[in-house]
């Protein structure tokens, strides 16, 4: 399988006051298309920085990052935004839906920035909501939805642009175990459809749903192993 993500010698340093903080100190990582991977680590291990760089929200201080064969480490902010829009769908711990905006409109949002006409946006957003089983809640506002439903809307938003990579940052952090299970089932379903799902988590039982677990500590990869993922099956 072709490498979708290829990181070589990634370093990221921040200036914090007078100190230099080395969040990543040379990470090499290759992720194949259509796989699921969990990035683990305690807080301060660099996993958030890792996710930001992988998600093209941030850029490495040193090193190369090839996303789908293209080096994105030196792109402008505008080009980076374009890459995010086409390649990556985000799912956040705190859902990050726009309040006072319907589920459908939230899902439509990424398509606006790709310049799709309204009708096409509408059609595709509705289909994405169907995929996460929330088509009938399309006109609900986030505050009228449960946490699990909100996260499903967020997943629909990540899907709608047909990005090959789904970056999920602690996707179940704000959910109870039953809805966590549902969300993980949806994410696993996406892997089955050929998406690459990257989970960032500190919970090993969430990491268990991935086929590969990479552990970071102090800005370095200390463990990288493949496993048979636990299957999350939605109770009918």
């Amino acid at each position: 399988m072709a490498a979708l993500i290829e990181m070589r010698g990634i370093e990221r340093t921040y200036v914090m006051g007078d100190n230099l903080v080395h969040a990543l100190r040379g990470v090499d990582l290759t992720i194949d298309a259509g796989s699921s991977i969990a990035i683990m680590g305690t807080s301060g291990s660099g996993k958030s920085t890792m996710m930001n760089i992988m998600g093209c929200l941030d850029q490495p201080t040193r090193g190369n990052y090839l996303l789908n064969g293209k080096d994105v480490a030196r792109l402008s902010r505008s080009q980076l935004a374009d890459v995010r829009g086409r390649m990556i769908g985000f799912v956040f711990q705190s859902f990050n839906l726009l309040s006072r905006t319907t589920a459908l409109e939230n899902v439509e949002m990424p398509l606006m920035y790709q310049g799709l006409p309204g009708r096409e946006r509408h059609r595709r957003a509705l289909r994405a909501l169907e995929q996460v089983g929330l088509a009938e809640r399309a006109d609900h506002h986030p505050n009228q939805l449960s946490g699990g439903q909100q996260q499903r809307v967020a997943i629909a938003r990540a899907l709608v642009g047909e990005a090959p990579v789904i970056m999920a940052d602690e996707p179940t952090g704000n959910l109870d175990s039953r809805t966590s299970y549902e969300v993980m089932a949806i994410l696993q379903g996406l892997v089955a459809q050929g998406k690459t799902v990257i989970l960032v988590t500190h919970e090993s039982d969430i990491a268990a749903y991935a086929s590969r677990v990479v552990t970071l500590r102090d800005g370095l990869v200390i463990d990288d192993r493949r496993q048979t993922p636990v299957k999350a099956e939605v109770a009918a």
Partner: protein, 409 residues
Amino acid sequence: MSIFTTLKLALRALWRNKVRSSLTMLGIVFGIGAVIAMVAGGQGAQQAVKDVFQGLGTNVLILTNGSQRSFGAAGGAGSRQSLTWDDMKALESGEISSIKWVAPMLQARAQVASEDANWSTSIVGTTAVWFQIRNWRADKGAEFDAETGDSNARVAVIGKTVATQLYGTGNPIGQAIRIAGQPFEIIGVLTSKGQGPMGDYDDTVIIPVKSYMQKIEKGLAKYIKGQVLISMTQDDLAERAMSEITALLRDRHKLDASDDDDFRIRNPAEFAQAQQDSTQRIATLLAIVAAVSLFVGGIGVMNIMLVSVIERTREIGIRMAVGAKPIDVMTQFLVESLVLAAVGGLLGLALGAGAAKYMAGYFGWKFFFPATTAAIAFLVAGGVGVVFGLYPAIRASRLDPITALRYET
């Protein structure tokens, strides 16, 4: 992102904060409203001044006797008897080519009476061309013709005010009128000119100059005891005509080079210009004050947009995460402030036009809707939106998506 989508987003964002948006808009509304009202008002006031002087007749010079100076005390304009009827004939002779018409204008207050009313008014003795110079026509009946004007016929053309005072709603044509006790026949009623700088234009009675001299002044005189109105063949000849008339009269009066003129020539147009200039200055001043209030309105927009950017930091982060480019974010906020200012501008236009209309009614001006100014003001409102929205919009576009996503509201 398409313009349409951007516009829709902006409208929705503004609608979400209705109260705040309308209050912000109010600054622009009043700013633009004030500019429009002041400019429209200024134009109205200027036109009013213009109209007043146009009532005197356009393109007219007023020739009067000079002032008598005895033992160092000047007697004031017309106190000296120097202009003669022969002087007037010389002016009429065509010797000065820039002169078109010349009319005497002798004036005195006298009591006029109909069968059952009487009224004190201004009696004017003149010739037929006076109506041409003043550009004043009879509304009913007719002005007197050249022959009647030069005769001592006992006919009168009366102003609207006199007609109303003496005959009410009745028809005065053909009626007898007593002027200073002397019977005259009314042959015309003049169209209304309204108020002038010297009072009511329509409060007057016009009679042939010879009749005036016989019946009002009592006895024919060599000197003209009043004014002579002179009109030029073209608008821009006033300067030339004045110097030519001066030369002619000085020659006729046999004045030495060291002597002062014993007559005066006034150009009401100059006076009108001065009046108009001062009105213009005040109007400009008011427009500047109005522009300052528009500027303050613009600062209000900037203020609110800055607050809005901070409030929506997380939204900006989310939008950036899903692919919004910095330019998209900037455009979004810029369009919001533009819409705010443009809608405010439109409302301000309506408000300003309303205020201008009210002022026009109140002061008796003509109502002008300054279309050009309105268009400019509207563009300025848009400009205010862009200029004052630019800084907040740039700030929004420069946000770091990671920080923005983490921002707690």
